[in-house]
Symmetry: C2
Subunit: 331 residues, 2 copies
């Protein structure tokens, strides 16, 4: 049995959506058991109805807009803090939440702890590419300032994630820059390039890539500091929103466009779902001593199901051990 | 008469496209005359047929992939180097090319020269927003490493551009960051925020914005270093390409989707054209002593026409003087 702790209170949607997602995950995976963290009226009735579900009753909820470190200090009986403490105590093997990324990051770093040797945990985000390929982009926002040696660790963490979650055998890593030539980039990025070339230049490091490469699947792992990664991920989100809004506007101006959009709707929805990363469990917090997956706040039943299953797969694939070994080999 | 020098050899398309664009601009603007730089067989026959066109015969062409500073040194008789020299000599008031951004940047910085007091010229890129609004994003790649005082100059330059090219009366400026709170960002960005708040906190500075804000039109000007700006602009381009490719893929899998895409095609084309920035003349090189506009390499007749007219409007709107005055007032 693999046990995943799930935050029933996380996200902007009502807990019902999360509970349905957990039920779907239990249905799909016979070797899965869950520890459901949340308010008594939410989690107790659910767990009474499901054999492989145990309740972790908590009384507080960290909201999406709260300051992360202040929230985890003030709300010690929240589903996020208590859920991650349960993982630390060995009551669960991994954690999934659609709650505040910042609060989960802070609670996991303090509560579960970093893998030995890891300088900074990072948040990895799966992104789709052309022809059904996928890449993983990290860090997407946890570390605005990084050093070259951290980028090398991000590469190791991203490769372990790519193997286990995306099923890539020998993942190749690129560094996000403002040009594909080796010498392109800010002074910091040029130094990061050198460190990556030294660590994986003969094996897994594929050189620099550009913003246009992110959604092509050309590279299995794309590493960058959390500042540029955050801008890239949010620019993808903003561009998709812009295009959908413009298509919608066109439908208000022309009957042809309205009919066309109606016929294309299932395809457009699929494109939007692909961009959300939900298919692969959402974002993953890498570098802490247990798999932690983070869904979008505006979550769905499927997103919770995929997130729970991806987290269980990361436990079984020994994500943490693989990261620990790769980082130790590099010291 | 306003005279714009146009590079007939710039871009991936044949010179015929550029010439048709110039003809369309001459047709649209009676007060416009052009100096057309390029190979004799391209520019001489064209100028013989158009009253307000003069030929600047050159023998070399800088290709898109060439190293900018090496190319401008090696090809002194290229349309870009000679065209910008003609602007410097007063034979034309502004310059438009769909050629290599890097080569134009280098040739303009050395050949035309910086406005007094400007530390670093920057490349500004118009982007669409919701409800027909537009913003300008700068720097989009010229300066990977910046100092806080340069960002303040970018703000002044972007405001002058926004007034003249986008017609905004009192443009508001935001700083691109990984969160909207004042304290968000890398150490460098936090320092940039402080400098911008000091310079325009009571008037034109609107605080931080995120990647999701770029295509909303919420802010008239978005400033950032050339590294993050390049990643943002190229991520927009890559996301649009990804979405169009996925829509195309859907049409191969379903007849409904094929029909829908056919009906939506004019709207999708309009969205793509809006994202290209061509409607406003493409990118603008700000901070040099003459208006310089840069079209996409994969240019079109309309893009050349708009670029030429936008450049003429920048001359008449006294873009250079307005930048010089704003920067001098800030010293």
């Amino acid at each position: 049995m693999t046990t995943i702790c799930i935050d029933a209170m996380g996200g902007d949607r009502e807990p019902k959506v999360v509970l349905e997602g957990i039920a779907a995950a239990l249905e799909a995976d016979d070797e899965l058991s869950v520890l459901v963290a949340g308010n008594e009226d939410v989690v107790v009735p659910f767990c009474a109805k499901h054999e492989r579900a145990r309740a972790l009753v908590t009384t507080q909820t960290i909201e999406m807009g709260e300051h992360p470190t202040e929230a985890i200090r003030a709300k010690k009986d929240s589903s996020i803090v208590r859920g991650l403490a349960a993982v630390h105590a060995g009551e669960a093997d991994g954690f999934f939440s659609a709650g505040s990324t910042g609060a989960i990051f802070a609670a996991a770093t303090f509560g579960v702890g970093r893998i030995r040797g890891i300088k900074r945990p990072a948040i990895a985000c799966p992104v789709p590419g052309l022809d059904g390929r996928h890449s993983v982009l990290l860090d997407m926002g946890a570390n605005a300032d990084v050093r070259p040696d951290m980028l090398v660790q991000f590469a190791h963490m991203g490769r372990a994630y790519s193997r286990i979650t995306l099923g890539v055998e020998d993942p190749k890593v690129a560094l996000l820059s403002n040009g594909s030539e080796d010498t392109k980039g800010s002074e910091a990025v040029v130094a990061e390039h050198e460190a990556l070339a030294k660590a994986g230049g003969d094996t897994w490091f594929a050189g620099n890539c550009e913003g246009t490469d992110i959604l092509t699947g050309r590279f299995d792992v794309i590493v960058t500091d959390g500042f540029a990664g955050n801008i890239a991920v949010k620019t993808i989100e903003g561009t998709a929103k812009y295009i959908l809004a413009e298509v919608k506007r066109a439908t208000q101006e022309s009957k042809r466009a309205l009919l066309g959009a109606g016929l294309l709707k299932p395809s457009l929805k699929r494109v939007a779902a692909g961009l959300s990363g939900d298919e692969y469990g959402g974002a993953a917090l890498l570098g802490v001593k247990a798999p932690v997956f983070i869904g979008h706040g505006a979550t769905s039943v499927d997103a919770v199901k995929h997130g729970t299953l991806a987290c269980a797969a990361a436990v079984r694939g020994e994500l943490v051990d693989k990261i620990a070994r790769a980082v130790a080999a590099d010291q």
